[in-house]
């Protein structure tokens, strides 16, 4: 079990507020960015104690921001593109390996596969990020993997 301790929320917030804000301005526009920003970090605050370790918090909060942008329904970018931006914000060899494989998956499956196998997040964390149940997160990842296998053979 990973034992990287969660930083105080204050530190997590200070490290991520500017990039998340800049990202939301691009995705939902200046008019909706303020509400999206507040909603993103309130959701993060609700999910924070459920996280099991302090790794890949940037990827985690960007996924929450993606959900919030979709929920706001304004210029909603598909999850596919948003997850692509994760690669830029937190590049990781595992992600690079997965990227070309997962490219053709539907948005939610792609996000689940990449967060699970690229970032090693737990299903509980992925559920918080995707705003779904843990079961739904597990299901999205496993049907994503099945689809990948079919595509490869």
């Amino acid at each position: 079990m990973d034992t990287v301790r969660l930083p105080p929320f204050e530190r997590f917030y200070e490290e991520n507020r500017d990039p998340v804000y800049a990202h939301l301005r691009r995705v939902v526009g200046a008019g909706a960015a303020d509400d999206a920003f507040q909603e993103t970090f309130l959701r993060a605050l609700r999910g924070y104690p459920k996280l099991r370790h302090g790794e890949h918090l940037r990827a985690w909060v960007f996924t929450i921001a993606a959900r919030v942008a979709i929920d706001l329904g304004r210029r909603a970018k598909p999850t596919v593109e948003l997850v692509e931006e994760l690669g830029v914000s937190d590049s990781r060899p595992a992600y690079a390996e997965l990227e070309h494989l997962a490219g053709e998956l539907p948005g939610k499956e792609r996000a689940a596969v990449i967060l699970r196998y690229g970032y090693d997040l737990s299903y509980a964390d992925i559920a918080v990020a995707l705003d779904s149940s843990e079961d739904a997160a597990r299901q999205a990842a496993s049907s994503g993997v099945r689809r990948l296998r079919r595509n490869l053979t």
């Binding site: 204050e10 301005r25 507040q38």
Partner: protein
């Protein structure tokens, strides 16, 4: 791109308002220097003369949980009462305090300490006697030295048996200043 200050404030306000914080804190000015005030949903849990927010946030997170955020709203009550105290308009604090994690002896001593009235002093030995441990003056001294909520829990009102100030975690100058502010007569 930087988050606008107003939006940053709005988020911190909402976080406290929605009751999502394990600890909310802020740094305020006072006549005895900058103070870091922190509160849980149960009450004030820390007043620190070491107002370095980063180090304090780490410490608070270890005891109370990771959702520690600078959120002025969470310490509004403490700020107001301290302000009144420093301006001579308040002699007793009505704030609830959160002593989670403190040992039983520590709680007993701090509870007794809270009863020492404004403007009066007691000794380490007398305080020890009042918690039923007359020979534990030294242990009482240790509790005073580690008092998590100075000023509100008035460890500045505890002096040596000869009337010397002995010590204060925030420095003797501050102890003297607080006693002077209260008009305490030292013997």
């Amino acid at each position: 791109m930087t988050v606008p200050a107003q939006l940053d404030r709005r988020f911190r306000e909402a976080a406290a308002y929605e009751g999502l914080l394990d600890v909310g804190f802020d740094v305020v000015d006072s006549p005895v220097g900058a103070l870091l005030l922190a509160a849980t949903p149960r009450g004030v849990c820390r007043i620190s003369y070491d107002a370095d927010p980063e180090a304090q946030a780490e410490r608070l997170a270890r005891v109370y949980g990771p959702r520690v955020l600078r959120a002025p709203r969470a310490v509004d009550g403490a700020k107001r009462e301290l302000d009144e105290y420093f301006h001579g308009r308040r002699e007793a604090f009505d704030l609830s305090v959160d002593l989670t994690g403190a040992a039983e002896f520590t709680r007993d001593v701090l509870r007794e300490l809270a009863r020492v009235p404004f403007g009066e002093v007691t000794t380490y030995g007398q305080l020890a006697a009042r918690v039923g441990r007359p020979r534990a003056a030294r242990a009482v001294g240790t509790v005073m030295n580690r008092n998590p909520i100075p000023i509100v829990l008035p460890c500045h009102r505890v002096v040596g048996s000869t009337g010397s100030l002995v010590g204060y975690a925030g420095g003797l100058d501050r102890k003297e200043q607080l006693l002077k502010l209260e008009g305490a007569r030292l013997f």
